[in-house]
């Protein structure tokens, strides 16, 4: 190690901590979007580092589809307790009960799209003016053009063709009443960076990320976890497989990989050898070529 040299993970970490502190300084009521997935777990870790020895000066916001993996919910509650954070939960079930959204029907019914309404309603209810998210530019082509500080109009919409220029590390969080920002501190991280950082910092993850046996079925080449509320097509059958999650989201759209990786070292080897992107196994992204861009425009994560 040379004398005044940071390796790339430490440089990314420093950049993310800088962004976290800018959010705390520039906004009155920020929140951190927490899904129970590895990216949001890394975000929480970075937020702890940014404000230590203070507690994280904003709540975690979880949008609960009602279709979560129980392991992810248990992990969420344990983490919140451990770090003394405040948790706000926005419930998609409540949005359905109130008639704000209508449940999708059919085989590929998912609450993924419905989350957007719940998210925007919760942001309005708590008057959040900035929501920190775990989006990364390497994830998806629409995300590659996302700013660190991403402006949303009063309808929560993203206008990709009219984004504010963002230069150096000077972030413009000025806004009118009713507007808000989405902030992405780990914009410049890749999937491998996230895993290496989890390994380097020894960050705890939900058991879902490690190999386990579970009831699954195959839909259009993607292995999905079986849950009683999911409707199977006539040709689909539930079987037991040894799997792990590469990403963790709503059960209805999280593809599982057949894997026996049981440690971070093994997971990193698996990812280094893999030839398919992370989101390639996300059922929500396979809907159309611009699926992510369309959802983002409407206010999705």
């Amino acid at each position: 190690m040379k004398k005044y040299h940071l390796n790339h993970l430490r440089e990314l970490e420093s950049e993310s901590i800088y962004v976290m502190r800018e959010v705390a300084a520039q906004f009155e009521r920020p929140c951190l979007l927490f899904s129970g997935g590895k990216d949001s777990i890394v975000l929480v870790h970075l937020a702890r580092k940014a404000f230590h020895p203070s507690l994280i000066p904003f709540p975690l916001l979880h949008i609960d589809t009602g279709h979560n993996f129980q392991e992810a919910l248990d992990f969420r509650d344990g983490l919140v307790k451990k770090i003394g954070a405040r948790l706000v939960v926005g419930s998609v079930q409540e949005s359905i009960d109130k008639g704000r959204v209508v449940e999708e029907t059919g085989y590929s019914a998912s609450r993924n799209v419905l989350q957007t309404t719940t998210l925007l309603d919760t942001i309005a209810e708590f008057k959040f003016d900035a929501a920190i998210g775990g989006g990364r530019r390497d994830e998806e082509k629409a995300r590659a053009k996302e700013r660190f500080f991403s402006h949303r109009d009063e309808f929560g919409q993203w206008d990709p063709k009219n984004q504010r220029p963002e230069l150096w590390n000077i972030f413009n969080g000025k806004k009118h009443i009713g507007e808000h920002f989405r902030v992405f501190p780990i914009s410049n991280w890749t999937e491998m960076d996230i895993w290496q950082y989890i390994y380097m910092e020894n960050i705890e993850l939900p058991s879902l990320y490690y190999t386990h046996t579970r009831e699954v079925f195959n839909r259009d080449g993607v292995w999905l976890a079986y849950a009683p509320f999911m409707k199977l097509k006539p040709n689909e059958k539930v079987e037991m497989k040894t799997v792990r999650c590469r990403t963790v989201g709503d059960i209805t759209c999280t593809g599982l990989s057949l894997s026996t990786a049981n440690s971070l070292e093994e997971i990193i080897q698996e990812i280094a050898a893999t030839r398919v992107t992370e989101r390639g196994s996300r059922y929500d992204d396979l809907r159309s070529e611009a699926a992510m861009e369309d959802r983002k425009r409407e206010g999705y994560f």
Binding site: R21, R137, L167, H176, Q196
Partner: protein, 428 residues
Amino acid sequence: MEEKFSSKGYLNMELLRFTTAGSVDDGKSTLIGRLLYDSKSIFEDQLEAVKRASIRRGNERVDLALLTDGLRAEREQGITIDVAYRYFATPKRKFIIADTPGHVQYTRNMVTGASTANAAIILIDARNGVTEQTCRHSYIASLLEIKHLIICINKMDLVEFSQEVYERIKNEFIVFSRKLDARDIHFVPISALLGDNVVEPSSNMGWYRGGTLMHILETIDIMSDCNLDDPRFPVQYVIRPQSADYPDYRGYAGRIDGGVFRKGDEIVVMPQQKSTVIESIDFFHQSLEQAFPPMSVTIRIKDDIDISRGDMFVKKDNMPSVTRDITAMVCWMSDRPLQLNGKYALKHTTKDVRCVIRDVLYKVNVNNLHQNKEDRNVTLNEIACVSLRTTQPLLTDPYKRNRKTGSLILIDEGTNNTVGVGMVISSQ
């Protein structure tokens, strides 16, 4: 055969940020596609998507340029609208590409991409040589203080891989570059389309003795790019837990923007001009002996001084300028022209002030570097030297000396949009 991935190696990699400047048809998208593809950063599902898109459009070959198309409108129109960021890694370095479009709002986007880059790739079509666009791209890179320029003379396959053509263009560029203050210029003859000298050495150009583009990207020395001479620590956020465990803790959080700070160092808090000593440099559960750019840390000091966001820790024998009058090169980013005597919000390091633009000293023609002292109307994508006066003193260094303490942005107070970006030339 799969090589075993080395976590140890991965943890020791350096980060290199570079920008690619190019115009329509110069092969920029193809070059980026080639770098990603040949460094095995393209996944099968991405390649499948590009194959599907190529067939749908009736292309004969798989068009690697499609890998870099992002938004629906771009795919529909076949153009790139906004700066996009791409990532790849080799065993030596991790790379972030700021991929900037060549035609729509080129200056605005190039300036944005260049602002965080260590290096710039400038593409020259071997059939055309040094053009007005080459000049513009190089000027912007040098204006934004990108220390390393990599001049790729592309489409060598279309000039029969001729050494003579390469040498002629190289010399043309060297003559032109005397007008710039680029310090480190590399040249490489390539064919992005066929892959010659991009990642793999070319068998068609045995006369070329230098490294491939990838070799240059992996080996240029970026250690000296950070300012280690002038200690600068803008206070970003004050940490005061007021908890049972830390009743009296008061730490100043921020990022080192220049120089080296060590535990026990005597520092001066600006603009208060109060001296004190660094008691501790904290980072989570660690206490550090020293901190240097671009580390984010929390500094505690010995004395009780009233300090808030926007103040700066420096050292006695090395002061920034403290001034309300600043001369800066400004690039205009908005459809609404710069308003002479207009008031704008201004952000500089962690400080927010307001300013008035008092004068436009000259405009720069980015195509030939000519200065125009007559025309003071600064519109979108134009670059001008302006003088401005701020409501409170700023702590600045010339941009040439420090990109962090020498940069600022101007915000329209009506729309809240970032409308201009500036690089400090001098402050009095």
